[in-house]
């Protein structure tokens, strides 16, 4: 073994260690080499002194000082944070969305009913299919109500028409409402209310 190899092993023995054979060879080299013995001694000295540098007493009030700073950074468990984020996102969404929603309901065809599942929408046409019976009242806004089945309650129209199919029946009365701002707003609110309550039932 030459000095170069010996010094490589000296460094390795300080870190991930060397195997028994290598240790034996190194030992033999060191016995015969004054220069490498000095390297070994220096390295030991260095690592030992660096070790002594590793602890310097922090001031006695250090921990207290840190703890007083904690409110500045506040611990937030991730779960609660995610939950809060979801809530605030939902509120933000409602804030932005509600005027858009009202505007949207005022400019597009609408139909308010207690039995939305009985009616099929095709563009601006609301169709009561053949064989379907609607017992409650209907309000139609900006569209055409086409009855192939049967409507038993009152039909209110706001800027809307009612078409009776060849086998369609309407047993109640049809009332036409003037498209005032109040009527539109009431309609939008009714629609919103219907959506919200349906959502709540669906969510449970």
């Amino acid at each position: 073994m030459n000095c170069r190899e010996a010094r490589r092993l000296l460094h390795h023995s300080l870190d991930d260690g060397i195997n028994l054979t290598q240790a034996e060879q190194l030992k033999r080299h060191l016995e015969n080499c004054q220069a490498c013995r000095q390297v070994e001694a220096s390295l030991k000295e260095i690592t030992q002194l660096v070790g002594e540098f590793a602890v310097v007493a922090a001031p006695s009030n250090f921990t207290q000082g840190c703890m007083q700073q904690l409110p500045r950074v506040r611990l937030r468990p991730r779960k609660r944070q995610a939950w809060l984020r979801a809530i605030s996102a939902a509120m933000l969404f409602l804030l932005i969305a509600s005027p858009i929603y009202v505007w949207w309901t005022l400019t597009s065809p609408q139909l308010v009913t207690d039995v939305p599942q009985a009616i099929v929408q095709e563009g601006n046409r609301f169709v009561v299919p053949a064989g379907q019976v609607v017992r409650g009242n209907l309000t139609v806004y900006k569209g055409i109500l086409v009855i192939h089945g049967e409507v038993q309650g009152t039909i209110q129209t706001v800027d809307a028409k009612v078409e009776l199919g060849p086998h369609g029946k309407h047993l109640g009365v049809t009332r036409e409402i003037e498209a005032s701002v109040q009527a539109k707003l009431a309609l939008a609110l009714a629609e919103l209310w219907e959506k919200l309550t349906r959502f709540r039932v669906g969510g449970d």
């Binding site: 460094h11 300080l14 870190d15 991930d16 390297v39 220096s42 390295l43 000295e45 260095i46 690592t47 002194l49 660096v50 070790g51 002594e52 540098f53 590793a54 602890v55 310097v56 007493a57 922090a58 001031p59 250090f62 921990t63 000082g65 840190c66 703890m67 700073q69 904690l70 500045r72 950074v73 506040r74 611990l75 937030r76 468990p77 991730r78 944070q81």
Partner: protein, 194 residues
């Protein structure tokens, strides 16, 4: 894996401040010492040590239980130290071109104290401290973490975000540089006829 650390971190994550205080108490001297050797003065080292623990606290929710705590702690401290050195170099270079190795100056020991042998040992320590300060920060952190704080190649590689092979190379070169420097100092003392 240090189970005491794991328990303390677990309690601190649940919001128990006393558990976090125990963690600070346990590591403050080591983190302070590491930062002191990295940046070279007490005031900056204290500020950085406090900032280290505050960052640990505010990032506890990101820390996965079961992972070793110590390397994570040192990683935060190392990043703060390197950042600090970078900023300081920028500030200084505006005034005058000072090379990085001239920035850290450790005081030499008081020569009036103690018998001759203690004196020589103290002087050796002072020279080594200065020799470490003269290493580039990348090499300084490696040798401090390995021999001062007893972290493994793998842990240091994670702390400094460099491959294990880079850690090995830097460690080898840092130790050789320190050794040659100390030898040179010793020869100078010998020539001085002490």
């Amino acid at each position: 894996m240090d189970l005491v650390d794991q328990k303390l971190v677990h309690r601190a994550k649940r919001g128990e401040e006393s558990a976090f205080a125990e963690l600070v108490d346990k590591y403050k001297d080591r983190i302070f010492a590491y930062l002191y050797r990295m940046v070279g003065n007490r005031e900056d080292a204290l500020d950085l040590a406090q900032e280290t623990f505050l960052r640990v606290y505010s990032n506890l929710h990101n820390f996965k239980l079961g992972k070793p705590f110590r390397p994570w702690l040192y990683r935060i401290a190392s990043n703060l130290a390197i950042d600090h050195l970078r900023k300081r170099r920028q500030v200084l270079s505006l005034d005058a071109p000072v090379s990085d190795d001239k920035l850290l100056r450790f005081e030499l020991p008081d020569k009036s104290l103690g018998p001759a042998e203690q004196h020589e040992q103290a002087e050796l320590r002072a020279y080594l401290a200065q020799a470490i300060a003269d290493l580039p920060p990348n090499y300084r952190s490696v040798i401090l973490l390995r021999h001062g704080h007893d972290l493994s190649y793998q842990e240091i590689s994670k702390i400094l975000q460099v491959p294990v092979s880079t850690v090995k190379t830097r460690l080898f070169r840092a130790r050789e540089a320190l050794r040659l420097k100390l030898n040179k100092e010793r020869d100078l003392w010998g020539a001085g006829g002490e």
